[in-house]
């Protein structure tokens, strides 16, 4: 089946609107958040219009329907990720919370009995991240290291935007308790060799957590095939709503991990002296969860699955190849990250030199915005990475399943405008 981008675009009502005095919207900010197809918008609308109730506790028909919407979403996400069982899927509010859930569970492990022993951290233990991580996959581990006395270490990146694996055997060693890394960089686009790193980590008994915020929307993911222990992604970058994220973990780990948030629904029994907890995934889902958002996420997963993640990746690879060619031909433009489209995903970050020197990303994005082109400017929550490349900020255009070559052309044309304006 050929990839019909025009048909796909019709599913996204927002792509029809104009911005800034009648300019056609060119949305190149999907790595920030994706747009939503009407199927997702309608699923949320249908849930609130017809089935709204609380889940797991209401004994009426609406409660059954709401529970079905919520638990049905879990099943769909489990299949989407290739999970062994739907109880391995924990809903969170976003991926930041998913990563924090693991970090706080590990922080709570010291007082959680024998079964949580493997999560206990202390002085001498090491957590390994990478220099290309989003702040969400750095800060929770810094905090955990501060609380436990463990040491944070990290992989560097090469000049051309790949993970520097030259010291992998030194970095991943007997002291390593956890390796946390992005599947795909939100700035460089680099797709990291997760399976290879996971094998090394497991050889020394370390756990592996993968930030899939940028990969899950854009390429097929099979968590068992990747051979990792934790995998997180967020709903709003995969055509779904904000307010819902996913933590997948192997069931034996979820069984052994102490809870993160305490509250309703996560318990087995509560007495005034102490409580026991529900089995996973509910042990990690305290309080009323984002039910409508789960219904929306289920529709989003259906939507991308129906198109096919292989097809989406193939289409985007072509788009990225085209964008790399066009962008690198712009005088004064420096593209960050790999130029080989096989090695990179949808984020295309760059700096731009004008007649008077480097043009600041805020100024670039302001001119692009006036032309209707929406991109992100700043450090994209990856300040250490920008520092590594000797810059404070960059401009990032990111493509998704609905973008076209004509939109890349519009970006390049608008960059000319930027250079004229600040020339």
């Amino acid at each position: 089946m050929t990839y019909d981008v025009d048909r796909i675009r019709k599913d996204f009502p927002i792509l029809d609107r104009t911005v800034r005095e009648g300019r056609k919207l060119v949305y190149l900010d999907s790595a920030n958040t994706s747009q939503k197809p009407h199927q997702v918008i309608e699923a949320i609308d249908a849930y609130y219009s017809m089935s709204n109730a609380n889940i797991h506790r209401a004994t009426h028909q609406l409660g059954e329907e709401a529970t079905e919407a919520y638990e049905g979403a879990r099943l769909k996400v489990a299949r989407f990720l290739g999970a062994a069982d739907e109880s391995e899927v924990v809903f969170t509010k976003n991926i930041s919370e998913a990563i924090n859930l693991v970090a706080y569970a590990m922080g709570n492990a010291a007082t959680a009995g024998e079964q949580a022993h493997r999560f206990v951290l202390g002085p001498g233990d090491e957590i390994v991240v990478t220099e290309m991580e989003h702040h969400s996959n750095i800060v929770p581990w810094q905090l955990l290291c501060e609380r436990t006395g463990a040491t944070l270490r990290w992989f560097g990146v090469t000049d051309d935007g790949y993970l520097d694996l030259s010291n992998v055997d030194e970095l991943i060693n007997d002291r390593t308790k956890l390796v946390a890394l992005a599947h795909q960089s939100n700035v460089l686009g680099t797709i990291n060799p997760v399976r290879q790193i996971a094998e090394k980590a497991h050889r020394v008994g370390a756990l592996v957590l993968v930030d899939g915020a940028q990969s899950a929307p854009n390429m097929p993911v099979d968590v068992q095939d990747l051979g990792v222990d934790f995998f997180g992604f967020t709903g709003h970058k995969i055509c779904g709503p904000t307010g819902i994220g996913v933590l997948w973990a192997r069931r034996e780990l979820l069984d052994a991990m102490p809870p993160f948030l305490g509250g309703g629904e996560m318990i087995e029994t509560v007495a005034m002296e102490r409580s026991t907890f529900a089995p996973p995934p509910h042990k990690f889902e305290a309080g009323t969860m984002p039910i409508a958002e789960a219904a929306g996420l289920a529709a989003a997963v259906d939507y991308v699955t129906e198109i096919g993640l292989d097809q989406i990746r193939d289409y985007e690879r072509g788009l990225i190849a085209y964008a790399v060619e066009k962008l690198t031909a712009v005088e004064g433009l420096r593209l960050l990250g790999p130029t080989n489209p096989d090695d990179r995903g949808a984020a295309l970050s760059f700096t731009l030199e004008g007649g008077l020197g480097e043009i600041h990303p805020h100024d670039i994005s302001q001119v692009l915005d006036a032309d209707g082109v929406a991109v992100r400017a700043g450090h994209h929550c990856a300040r250490p990475l920008h520092k590594r490349y000797g810059i404070t900020a960059s401009t990032r255009a990111s493509v998704y399943l609905y973008n076209t070559r004509a939109e890349i052309d519009a970006l390049v044309e608008s960059l000319d405008h930027v250079k004229r304006f600040f020339g």
Binding site: H360, P361, H362, D363, Q366, A377, H386, T392, A393, F422
Partner: protein, 154 residues
């Protein structure tokens, strides 16, 4: 067109040829401020002259990295505050803050704000207001420290 309402020629002029840029001695307080969304930074020094009784802003020097709005704003700010008493300069700062919070609705007083009236267009763009305020906030902080109303950093 909207773009020109933000990037007025005065702003672009200050951006291309910033006034009072570079760090100078003497100074009584130095601060470092950052815009967390884009990583823009300014290091700013304030020198106050107390010889006439009421403290006067004798010099403001700075080193900064950032967009045209933040660079131009620093340049305009130094033009406005240098030579004024701290009290007068704080009044100008207050007027500028009001302008930046106005969402493009204010009629700025050119007698008070001079070149800074050009930033009225920026106040319509919430994402850029911080850029325009970065150096002003740094100046206010440094001046308060230099004037002894708050203790100096470290």
């Amino acid at each position: 067109m909207q773009l020109e309402s933000m990037y007025q020629e005065i702003i672009l002029d200050h951006y291309r040829n910033p006034h009072h840029k570079g760090l100078r001695d003497p100074y009584e307080a130095e601060v470092h401020h950052v815009n967390p969304t884009c990583g823009d930074e300014v290091t700013l020094r304030v020198h106050l002259d107390h010889s006439g009784g009421e403290p006067v802003v004798a010099d403001v020097s700075y080193d900064s990295m950032g967009c045209s709005i933040s660079q131009a704003s620093a340049s305009v700010m130094t033009d406005l505050v240098i030579g004024k008493t701290v009290k007068q300069a704080m009044e100008v700062e207050d007027e500028f803050l009001t302008l930046m919070k106005s969402k493009g609705e204010a009629e700025p007083d050119e007698d008070v704000l001079e070149d800074a009236v050009a930033f009225a267009g920026v106040s319509k763009y919430p994402a850029r207001i911080k850029c325009a305020l970065l150096s002003w906030m740094a100046w206010k902080d440094a001046t308060a420290q230099a004037n002894g109303t708050v203790p100096a950093e470290g």
